[in-house]
């Protein structure tokens, strides 16, 4: 086994067993907000215990260890094929060790070969940059929250959503309403305004690489994020849809160009078991630094 492969197994292990610090802080704040003695507070306490237990036992936070999504920033000339081979070997080994569930099945036959490898699994996104660093980010996204993602095409008369920011807000809040209970809230939204159908969802997912406590550098999008967060947390949906004060832990939005004829709002939902980690790799493939 090569060094890179070992680093990636460790990245998978830690991503599956630990939520990053920014998420952990947001969950603790939510627990404090919920009224003692309510089923919402009970749910948040179980969530908090679960995070602590998974980390201590180094076992998956959630049994749905999700789609395995790698995001790789690398210098020009980096051997992407070798990386892909190492990533596939790491996924297979991490599955054998129980860091990942046998979670990937043939789309048509439903057959599960127990390796988590197959067409599109794992998914790798490469992005070249001019610097020398190799940074690998990993998101494990479970099916429950993936199933409540939604894409809106504006205008949408039923939502009174026109082709403007207000319309985008209505679309996103509809997604929050529809997701209740099903996506393992309190959750985090990744939103993309614009793009085509495929890139819209792609960019919405990229938002999950941002820290929960960051602020959008674009003041218009920053306000958009805050507005949605504030309204959503007044709806009384609460943890697991049990009713309560915290419906969302965060909203992260971006805008990408669209063709004049299309106006998509793509919403990806991430459950509270927000599994995201990243590493900066040394030249020989060792982990030099954790990114979250």
């Amino acid at each position: 086994m090569n060094v890179l492969q070992e680093s990636l197994i460790e990245l998978i292990r830690r991503t599956s067993a630990e939520v990053p610090d920014d998420v952990s802080r947001a969950i603790l704040a939510a627990l404090e907000r919920e009224k003692q003695g309510t089923i919402a507070a009970s749910a948040m306490r179980i969530i908090e215990q679960n995070i602590e237990l998974a980390k201590r036992k180094s076992q998956p936070i959630c049994q749905d260890t999700g789609s395995v999504l790698f995001y790789v920033d690398c210098p020009v000339g980096y051997d992407q094929l070798a990386f892909e081979e190492a990533a596939r070997a790491a996924v297979k080994e991490a599955t054998r060790k129980g860091y990942l569930r046998q979670n990937s099945v043939d789309a048509i036959t439903g057959k599960n070969d127990g390796t988590n490898l197959g067409p599109g699994a794992p998914t790798l996104h490469f992005h070249q940059h001019r610097g020398p660093e190799v940074e690998v980010r990993l998101v494990l996204k479970g099916g429950g929250c993936e199933n409540v993602g939604a894409q809106y095409s504006l205008p949408d008369e039923s939502l009174k959503a026109n082709r403007d920011l207000e319309g985008c807000k209505r679309a996103v809040l509809d997604a929050v309403l529809q997701a209740q209970g099903k996506g393992c809230g309190p959750g985090v939204l990744g939103v993309c305004i614009g793009g085509d159908r495929a890139t819209g969802y792609e960019y919405s997912k990229l938002q999950f690489l941002r820290r929960l406590d960051d602020r959008n550098p674009d003041p218009v999008l920053d306000k958009f994020e805050q507005d949605i967060m504030n309204i959503a947390n007044e709806l009384g949906i609460g943890p697991m849809g049990f009713g309560g004060k915290t419906t969302l832990l965060g909203v992260k939005a971006c805008a990408v160009n669209r063709v004049p004829a299309s106006y998509f709002v793509s919403v990806s939902y991430m459950c509270w078991a927000f599994r995201r980690q990243g590493v900066k790799l040394a030249e020989d493939g060792r982990i030099e630094q954790w990114l979250y």
């Binding site: 049994q63 099945v105 599960n112 709806l235 459950c271």
Partner: protein
């Protein structure tokens, strides 16, 4: 907190109401998409297995074999239940189950079947795979493993104080319906207020 022990009897189940926190001890049977579709299409339960008075848990656990070759559940939270909405009522009717554990709630057909056959929907905390796995004390058996693979198989597991909330009771009440209606009304009110 109300303690329940399997097999559940009908009167105890009918006495439960939406919002009750319960702790279950006894036996659970996991079953998710493949099992529900299979039973719906008339598939037979494996020999020796009866679900009567039992609880189906919508869960695809992570299970490994320890050094001694025994099954060990290492992660076992609920999966989204609504996918079983087309089938659940029939399993309540034909197999005499008294409880379903899952997440996200279920629809009107399941709600009606809960009332008719004396069954409740119990909500476990989604994603809490470790806390819930700790309440699993033993794996008794596994069925349909060859056919469906590990996450989709029926795992017969022993639990102690497995925590859930009743969100659909046998009286026709659903917490999911109530919260959906109130949050929808609140959203309309907030959107209308900001446009004034």
């Amino acid at each position: 907190m109300i303690s329940l022990t399997t097999p559940l009897d009908e009167s105890a189940v009918r006495a439960l109401k939406v919002g009750d926190e319960v702790a279950i001890s006894g036996v659970l049977f996991t079953g998710r998409d493949a099992v529900h579709k299979y039973l719906h299409e008339g598939g037979a339960l494996p020999e020796g297995l009866s679900l009567r008075g039992g609880i189906i848990y919508h869960c695809g656990p992570v299970v490994i074999k320890d050094e001694a070759g025994r099954w060990k559940v290492v992660a076992a939270g609920p999966t989204t239940s609504i996918r079983e909405e087309p089938y659940q009522w029939q399993i309540m009717r034909d197999h005499g189950i008294r409880g379903v554990i899952g997440k996200g709630g279920m629809g009107p057909r399941t709600q009606a079947a809960c009332k008719e056959y004396g069954c409740v929907y119990l909500h476990a905390v989604g994603g809490a795979a470790q806390v819930l796995a700790e309440r699993i004390t033993a794996v008794r058996n596994v069925y349909l493993m060859e056919k469906f693979g590990s996450p989709e198989a029926i795992w017969e597991i022993e639990v102690r104080d497995f925590p859930c909330v009743v969100t659909m009771d046998a009286k026709g009440q659903s917490l999911h319906e109530t919260v959906f209606a109130s949050s929808k009304a609140k959203l309309e009110e907030l959107l209308a207020a900001q446009n004034k």
